[in-house]
């Protein structure tokens, strides 16, 4: 397994370095634009400092920030026993050293993500919308996908790539705004020399162009890193659950939903199981998407036959994509021990968001917010808010008294 992580790392390292070079080039150009005499290295230095500070913050606080930004709340087993059980099953299957923390996001949009630089300190977050829509097998597929992001060190990689993207956007923005406010006055006073002024003008124009273009370029690179890792996570999920149909049908249900996750943004988007920011009614072009197209992921998963090993996923991938590009690093394919697939036992549930699903979703959200539930004998479920102070209440339908 370790070799697999290594190979995965090596593959992304080229893209990662391209991001780094973009950052350094940006710093250098902007420095030279402001200070013609050796300012390039000053700019380089500042870019590195900004990147360094953000990286430190990301390393130590990245998970917390990610969870806070998404509005996730840590929950105990009582809130959703099934979710806890499934996470523990995947912990055993993936041999994680420690049980990941479990978070629920109060959002009707179905989605999930994982955080954790180290497998020892990881967390899995799912939305209430996801829990309400998926059955047990589907939820297991999603959790397996997320856990494999932790095991394959994708979270680590995406955190640092995301930080580089953030640094580039930050530096470019500060420069462009500074330009706006100083009105280029600084530049005109400095370009007193004739020949030097000419060269300085060109550098300035190049710097402005690069400041505008580099965030876009960096974003494309960032998304490219993200896309590569989704297939491997899917393949690992199949290996952990031995049940490709679970993930396939979960992906279908998630993509079918028309609700947006409001707390996601461009940097956090690649962390989710599907892109939370997809525009409606338009097929995304390949370059600007953080994830491979869902229809394709589903077709590959359904094309798996014979077993749950990486070789089986690669074969299905080759068949569907009609290409031979290696999605699984070679070291992962040498292990040919057959892992049998689980039999399909449960009939797929209907797509869409019916009344029952909506009620289930509401219940989960209330539980996360520490509402308590009382089942009255008349069949009514009474939901008590956490700030209800009295010791007892009466059932609004039949009038029975209940202790709290």
């Amino acid at each position: 397994m370790w070799e697999l992580i290594q190979a995965n790392k090596r593959r992304s390292i080229f893209l990662f370095f391209s991001l780094g070079i973009t950052l350094l080039l940006l710093g250098y150009l902007l420095g030279s634009a402001y200070f013609p005499d050796g300012g390039g290295f000053l700019g380089l230095f500042f870019a590195l400092i900004i990147w360094g500070i953000l990286s430190l913050v990301g390393y130590f606080k990245g998970s917390k920030i990610m969870l806070a930004v998404s509005g996730a709340k840590e929950v105990t087993k009582e809130v959703h026993p099934q979710l806890f059980n499934i996470v523990e099953e995947m912990k055993i299957s993936a041999s994680l050293p420690k049980m990941p923390k479990v978070y629920i996001i109060n959002s009707p949009a179905p989605n999930a993500f994982a955080t954790g630089i180290k497998p020892e300190e990881s967390a899995v977050a799912v939305t209430a919308g996801l829990l309400a829509r998926l059955n047990r097998d589907e939820l297991q597929g999603v959790i397996a996908h997320e856990v494999s992001h932790i095991v394959n060190r994708d979270v680590l990689f995406m955190t640092f790539a995301g930080i580089m993207l953030g640094s580039i956007v930050l530096i470019a923005n500060v420069f462009l705004r500074g330009l706006w406010f100083t009105g280029g006055g600084r530049y005109s006073s400095r370009s007193s020399g004739s020949g030097g002024g000419q060269a300085q003008l060109i550098i300035m124009i190049v710097a402005i162009a690069f400041a505008i273009l580099s965030p876009l370029l960096a974003q494309l690179l960032y998304f490219a890193i993200s896309r590569k890792r989704e297939y491997l996570a899917d393949a690992s999920a199949v290996r952990y659950t031995r049940y490709p149909e679970g993930l396939a049908s979960a992906l279908e249900k998630i993509s079918d939903s028309s609700v947006d996750l409001k707390t996601a943004n461009k940097v956090t988007a690649p962390m989710y199981i599907i892109n939370p920011l997809k525009p409606k009614g338009r097929k995304l072009s390949n370059l600007t998407s953080t994830h491979p197209p869902i229809t394709e992921r589903v077709r590959i998963l359904r094309g798996i036959s014979g077993g749950a090993n990486f070789v089986d996923y690669q074969n299905a991938f080759n068949k569907i994509k009609r290409s031979k590009s290696p999605i699984i690093p070679a070291s992962g394919l040498t292990d040919k021990t057959p892992i049998g697939l689980k039999d399909i036992l449960i009939a797929p549930t209907a797509l869409g968001l019916d009344k029952k699903t909506k009620r289930k979703m509401g219940d989960i959200m209330m539980k996360v917010n520490e509402y308590s539930f009382i089942n009255c004998k008349c069949g009514l479920k009474i939901k008590v808010p956490p700030d209800y102070k009295k010791e007892s209440l009466f059932c609004p339908r039949c009038g029975r008294q209940h202790r709290i």
């Binding site: 026993p81 499934i86 523990e88 047990r136 039999d343 089942n375």
Partner: protein, 190 residues
């Protein structure tokens, strides 16, 4: 003099070699034990859940006495089993009986709506999943360990210090997945 030194060096190398192989055998055996304890925790959990389940189900399922008796019988068999092989067999039978119960539940809508039953069923399903996922890890460890014991030169050291091969935890798949077959031929002959 030089002969003595050469002899001493050879002996030292051999001793170091034996120590390193012995240590690796110990390490592998401990890994097997650790992997087994992972399964054992889950098996115990399942044995603990079953009485509660039967208690809940009893009131609803009056016609499924056989299944419930089987579950009780296989549970005590599994708890008494000594070796890994015996345990695996008894647990396999227990899984089969629980599977049959699960199929019969479909005929009792009241039971299916019972919150207590649903919670128990979820715990049981999860425990069974955990057993099957932990089984894979355990069998992998046993394979490493047994290979080391059988292969040269570690087999000599294993023989000297009495390392014994461990058993795989194999549930007979046919029995575990057995689904009651509905026989329509009898009816059509009438």
């Amino acid at each position: 003099m030089t002969a003595v030194i050469i002899l001493l060096v050879v002996v030292a190398v051999v001793v170091l070699f034996v120590i390193s192989i012995y240590n690796s055998l110990i390490k592998l055996r401990n890994q097997v034990k650790n992997a087994w304890s992972q399964i054992d925790v889950q098996l115990k959990r399942r044995h603990d859940l079953i009485p509660n389940l039967l208690e809940t189900v009893k009131g609803y399922m009056k016609h499924e006495r056989d299944i419930m008796e089987n579950i009780t019988k296989y549970r005590s068999q599994a708890m008494d089993a000594g070796t890994v092989g015996e345990k695996a067999q008894a647990e396999g039978l227990l899984s089969g009986a629980l599977g049959q119960l699960r199929i019969q539940v479909e005929n009792y809508p009241d039971l299916k709506a019972n919150q207590n039953f649903l919670a128990l069923q979820e715990e049981l399903t999860s425990t069974e999943n955990k057993i099957s996922f932990a089984r894979q890890g355990y069998n992998d460890q046993v394979l490493f360990y047994n290979n080391k014991i059988q292969m040269f030169p570690s087999n000599i050291i294993a023989g000297m210090f009495n390392f014994k091969e461990e058993e795989f935890f194999e549930v007979e798949d046919e029995k575990e997945r057995e689904v009651p077959k509905v026989d329509f031929t009898g009816e059509s002959q009438k």
